[in-house]
């Protein structure tokens, strides 16, 4: 087991290196750089920038050095000193900007995943045990619509409905008075008040998909002979259901983590932009527009890396939960 985990962790290293390269060179792709963006901005506000001045800015931001060198400086800074670089746009260190936002994004993505399971598993079990009942049809239909409905467009519509009907502004993660306040119980409660909407929206399509998976798996399980045997022996219906079939039916959920997670992170970023939450979504948008490369590159890298690690955790949990899976086979 330990060997398996170590092997998987070692396999992460080349992936992370590749990701850092992709992230960095993506950011370097746009013609021009932060300095030209800045100069353009200054020109628009009527300030003339001389050649010398531009050159000075280039040197100040370290943009005069060749590409591989800059990449090396960035990566070695991250690995050796935990320093993600300097955001030119915010004039702050990237660490400072992201220290609260990245956890918030990951909290939203992961809790959306857990949240969608919490809703979907009971519904899936209900649908499977009450096959072809009105409730089953209703949930199947809702699930169908849920899979297809894009979360961020629903976010727009929900924000509008809540605003016009209830006067509740769903924008942001905190009410105004708590925005800069230190963490307290009241702030936490305020956060929860704002968090439920993004959670539902981010998890929406996953919830609907999970209902289907659980329902189909459970239906397969319930037709197996051991269930009939257990029933013949007089086991209570409740115990019969939860002892094995449900466990079997929800096992596959863990194995889907690895491909559900990237989608969840994507939709978190998008919905956060729509609802202007204090997470990385809006920051990434502004950073890409301003070609603030260290900030944007760091965000892309961190999000990708955390997604891969999350997927790995899912795989490890799967091995722990399902004794039938042999490490050798999975590692292969």
């Amino acid at each position: 087991m330990l060997l398996y985990i170590i092997r998987r962790l070692l396999m992460l290293i080349p992936i992370l290196i590749l990701m850092s390269m992709v992230a960095f060179f993506l950011i370097e792709l746009p013609p021009g750089d932060y300095v030209s963006f800045r100069i353009q901005q200054l020109k628009m506000s009527g300030v003339e920038v001389s050649e010398d001045e531009a050159q000075r800015l280039m040197i100040q931001f370290g943009l005069d050095k060749p590409l591989p060198l800059r990449y090396w400086q960035w990566v070695s800074g991250i690995v050796l000193r935990g320093n993600w670089g300097w955001s030119l746009q915010w004039n702050k260190s990237v660490n400072e900007i992201l220290s609260e936002r990245i956890p918030m994004t990951m909290v939203i993505s992961f809790s959306a995943l857990i949240f969608s399971w919490m809703i979907a598993v009971p519904i899936g079990i209900y649908s499977a045990t009450h096959k072809y009942s009105i409730g089953d049809y209703l949930f199947t239909f809702l699930g169908f619509i849920g899979v297809a409905t894009p979360g961020f467009l629903l976010a727009l519509i929900m924000a509008w409905l809540l605003f016009t009907q209830l006067g509740f502004s769903a924008l942001g993660l905190f009410s105004k008075e708590y925005l800069d306040a230190p963490w307290s119980w009241a702030k936490f409660v305020d956060l929860l008040k704002h968090l439920w909407l993004p959670l539902i929206l981010v998890g929406l399509s996953n919830t609907a998909g999970t209902i289907r998976v659980v329902r189909n798996n459970l239906l397969d399980e319930l037709n197996k002979q051991y269930v009939i045997t257990a029933r013949a022996k007089g086991l209570s219906e409740w115990k019969l259901l939860f002892k094995y079939p449900v466990r079997m039916a929800i096992n596959p959920l863990l194995s889907t983590v690895s491909w559900v997670l990237p989608g969840l992170v994507s939709s978190t970023v998008l919905i956060d932009i729509v609802l202007s939450l204090q997470t990385v979504g809006p920051v990434l948008l502004r950073a890409t527009l301003a070609q603030d490369m260290y900030l944007a590159g760091s965000i892309v890298l961190i999000l990708s890396a955390l997604t891969v690690i999350g997927a790995l955790i899912g795989d490890i949990l799967l091995v722990l939960v399902d004794p039938r899976i042999r490490f050798g086979r999975l590692a292969k």
């Binding site: 993506l26 746009p30 467009l153 016009t164 994507s266 948008l285 944007a296």
Partner: protein
């Protein structure tokens, strides 16, 4: 050969006894039906899928004939009709006769909020006319004409209201439909080509090539798509002409899109490669090309079509998302995503809820494609059950 013979025999017997032909049961027809017919029958039994397919075809036709369908061009501005609500269409004339008509609009400034308030001026009545002459446009890019499906003489008609630059939203939605709906097809075509070629190579030749391609796919699948697309499309110069931008965005979206299709193709080829008939073909000395195109591809075309049907709405959504946050199609070109940019401001939407109408179009399109895909998936394997 034997199938041909049996068909010949059956038609012979049918000619001999005309009554028998009539009695030919549904069961018999089922046995003689080709694969394509079977799929068609199963598909038509799926009511939601048929409904979805019909509405989608109508939507695509509307996008194709957008100039004719919409009363105005997408950037005609109507002075004095800024952020006007949808014009109500009345059907029964005050004197009782049937005739669709609209009233003129009058506006006054609300002194408190400084917003324009539009009310109907019931003293002015304008009948709705069909095939009216309006702005000139090029019909399908072929010839110039100025006939529009409907219009009103003397006053403007805004079926879905106007935006804050006083342009007709209805006309803009159909202009946007052209880009939004077609990007799904073009994008899926690109990812389909990539996916089939790379997935095919991966599955058919196996070995090192397979490993390499699979690792690339693993890597691409592990990256959250949106941040990647955002950075990629931020790299595109803002001042590119629309067409160039359009294809660039499509290619960016396909970068990740092909991986799913490649997986499907590879899995199916791995499975079919072991089938007896493939082994027989290899034994008979058929070329790789012939085996792939004649023996393997037809075996999973239906599965491919299903995957494609599900990829199109995903592509449409991604384009909408990118354009919505300002990194996709750039004005003056419009897509449903760029139209929704106006809806980003919550207070603006609270006052002009019609700005959300493009979102309904996107949602409807995506759901309809899912209906069709679901029906196709059930139909793709006609012998199942």
């Amino acid at each position: 050969m034997s199938a041909q013979e049996s068909v010949a025999v059956s038609s012979e017997t049918a000619q001999q006894t005309p009554i028998a032909q009539k009695k030919r049961s549904a069961e018999e027809r089922y046995y003689y039906a080709s694969q394509r017919e079977l799929i068609w029958w199963r598909f038509t039994r799926h009511k939601a899928a048929v409904f979805g397919a019909v509405v989608l075809i109508v939507l695509y036709l509307c996008a194709l004939f957008a100039d004719f369908l919409s009363p105005y061009s997408m950037d005609t501005r109507f002075e004095g009709y800024q952020a006007a609500p949808p014009t109500p269409i009345h059907w029964i004339r005050p004197d009782g006769g049937f005739q669709p008509y609209i009233y003129g609009l009058q506006r006054k400034l609300d002194q408190k909020t400084f917003k324009w308030i539009y009310t109907e001026d019931t003293s002015k009545l304008y009948p709705l006319r069909f095939f009216v002459r309006g702005e000139e446009y090029k019909f399908l890019g072929l010839f110039k004409t100025n006939i529009h499906l409907f219009g009103v003489e003397g006053a403007p008609i805004f079926v879905f209201g106007t935006d804050r630059l006083s342009r007709d939203l209805f006309s803009r939605i159909w202009a946007g439909a052209r880009i939004s709906l077609s990007i799904g097809l073009v994008g899926v075509f690109i990812s389909f080509t990539l996916g089939v070629i790379l997935g095919g190579i991966s599955g058919y030749f196996g070995g090192v090539v397979d490993d390499a391609i699979q690792r690339v796919i693993d890597f691409l699948l592990a990256i959250p798509g949106l941040p990647l697309w955002m950075t990629l499309s931020a790299a595109l110069p803002r001042d590119w002409p629309t067409l160039k931008m359009y294809f660039a965005i499509t290619i960016i979206l396909s970068v990740l899109g092909w991986t799913g299709l490649a997986r499907v193709v590879r899995g199916k080829i791995l499975q079919l490669r072991e089938e007896d008939y493939t082994l027989a073909a290899i034994g008979a000395g058929a070329s790789d090309w012939r085996i792939i195109t004649r023996h393997l591809l037809p075996g999973f075309t239906s599965h491919l079509i299903v995957s494609i049907t599900f990829s199109i709405p995903a592509m449409i959504l991604n384009e909408t998302a990118l354009s919505f946050i300002g990194l996709g199609i750039q004005p003056p070109a419009v897509s449903w995503g760029t139209l929704l940019q106006d809806a980003q401001n919550l207070t603006a939407v609270a006052q002009q809820p019609w700005l959300l109408i493009p979102a309904l179009f996107v949602i409807a399109t995506v759901i309809l494609f899912n209906f069709v895909g679901d029906g196709l998936r059930d139909a793709a394997d006609p012998y199942q059950r």
